[in-house]
Amino acid sequence: MLEKEVVQQRGFRNVYKNGQIVGFQVGYRSTYYRGIWLSLSTGFDVTVDGEKFPRDKVTVTVNGKTYTQEEMKKISDVQWHNYEPAILTVEKPGGLKPGVHEVKIDWGHRTSYFAPGRTMGGGGGRPSADTTRKLVLAR
């Protein structure tokens, strides 16, 4: 099951490469009422403790495959299911210190059957969804 909050605590941890911490990852639950093709996304923005990360430092993993946000725009057949979170991996040498961090994730997407210009914002189909959450990093 997913956590009810948009920003998932399960999966929030630092990421290692060759024994070094190269960044951290955090899961984001789509609040849209259904799954969508990943290319319908207008982008993911991650802000931790007030530090906003550029999109080229944030990759997106769904169904076990990782995409840069530029690659994500062009793929036609990757379905982001609404029953699994998108794992966002943020490049940050040294990662985050264990402890409490305020994590904000913004995401939007196009909707083919809505009038032009009505891209859906952070809460997707649920305007009340909170996209900022205090998470504990323990690893």
Partner: protein
């Protein structure tokens, strides 16, 4: 109302007096099932739409609090003896590993239909014209649209669905379809027929039943003589004539009258029983259900209407009770036991 206790309901409805009384019963909003005599063989004989639910109603809870199977069990609780509840699923969201579910998942799907006495009626799917961009340049071309559509028709057929809520991309505030819609729909007509799949474009607020959007679709239907393979799902949001408690919708000029559905009934193979607020007496506060149901009964429209809940408490677990209250209302209006 005249009492006809000594007749079966079937015999009653066959009398002229019965027909008059039945229409009088359906125009009141406080109908209860006990006002209509119990029939010897009611469910197969009764006129009017059959009932169902879209799992969209529970979309705030799926994968967070409940599984798909929990939703199917819930829907089963609103049935009538001897008649299957209809269901709608959302292809992207209800099907594990869409668009490529495993054989095991598909087998289990059919087991669940049998276990909960459900009939797969409508398969919600999208022809995502804005897959890459917002447009108007760069929208999905007709080949790509056709490929997406055919993939869904085949998958829907594998799961037993005979209707699709075929969402076509739109280009303006009235929800006028994308320029190449006729090309890919026309090309898919023989595929739809082969797989017994009715492609139904959803007619939804703010579209009005009298207007250029319906004219556009009817022009195609008439020219291509493609009934029933392309037609309508009319979402009852088009009839919302009162605002919700939070002031949403129902403004003058924004809705259609129930009788405006009549010319479209022969091309409408499924409807969304949209609802926003049902009170504790199981009366709908924003959409004129008694009038809509009466028109359908009078015109012998016997397809499925599938609940779609848009209430403000949907994100706080409100759907579970609301959908049941709506089906109590529908049962009263339709005389279901």
């Amino acid at each position: 109302m005249t009492r006809h206790n000594l007749m079966t309901r079937k015999e009653f409805l066959q009398t002229a007096a019965g027909a008059v009384a039945a229409s009088a019963v359906l125009t009141t909003s406080s109908v209860s099932a006990s006002a209509v005599p119990k029939a010897a063989s009611a469910p197969a004989e009764r006129r009017g739409p059959k009932r169902g639910v879209s799992v969209y109603c529970y979309s705030s809870d799926i994968a967070v609090n409940v599984t798909l199977e929990d939703c199917l069990a819930e829907i089963s609780d609103m049935g009538t003896e001897g008649q299957e509840m209809g269901i709608e699923i959302l292809a992207n969201g209800s099907i594990e590993n869409y668009p490529n579910p495993s054989e095991a998942w598909v087998k289990n799907w059919h087991n669940m239909m049998a276990k909960y006495h459900l009939k797969p009626v409508e398969y919600g799917h999208w022809i995502d014209s804005k897959l890459y961009v917002e447009g108007p340049e760069g929208l999905l071309n007709s080949q790509e649209s056709y490929d997406m559509l055919v993939r869904d028709i085949k998958l829907a057929n594998r799961l037993g669905f005979t209707c699709g809520r075929t969402k076509i991309g739109v280009i303006d505030e009235e929800l006028f379809p994308v320029p190449n819609w006729r090309e890919f729909i026309k090309r898919a007509l023989p595929v739809a027929e082969k797989y017994n799949f009715r492609m139904l474009t959803e007619v939804h607020t703010p579209t009005l039943l009298k207007g250029r959007v319906m004219d556009e679709y009817m022009d195609f239907i008439t020219k291509e003589k493609c009934t029933p393979w392309f037609g309508f799902n009319i979402d009852f949001s088009v009839f919302q004539n009162k605002p919700t408690s939070s002031g949403r919708g129902g403004a003058a000029g924004s809705f259609s009258k129930p009788e405006e559905i009549i010319p479209f009934l022969p091309y409408t193979h499924c409807c969304h029983a949209k609802f926003n607020e049902i009170n504790q007496n199981c009366e709908d506060l924003t959409i004129p259900y008694p009038e809509i149901i009466k028109i359908m009964v009078d015109h012998d429209w016997n397809n499925y209407i599938l609940s779609e809940y848009e209430g403000s408490d949907k994100n706080n677990g409100g759907a579970w009770s609301a959908v049941r209250r709506q089906h109590v209302l529908l049962k009263r209006l339709l005389g279901d036991a």
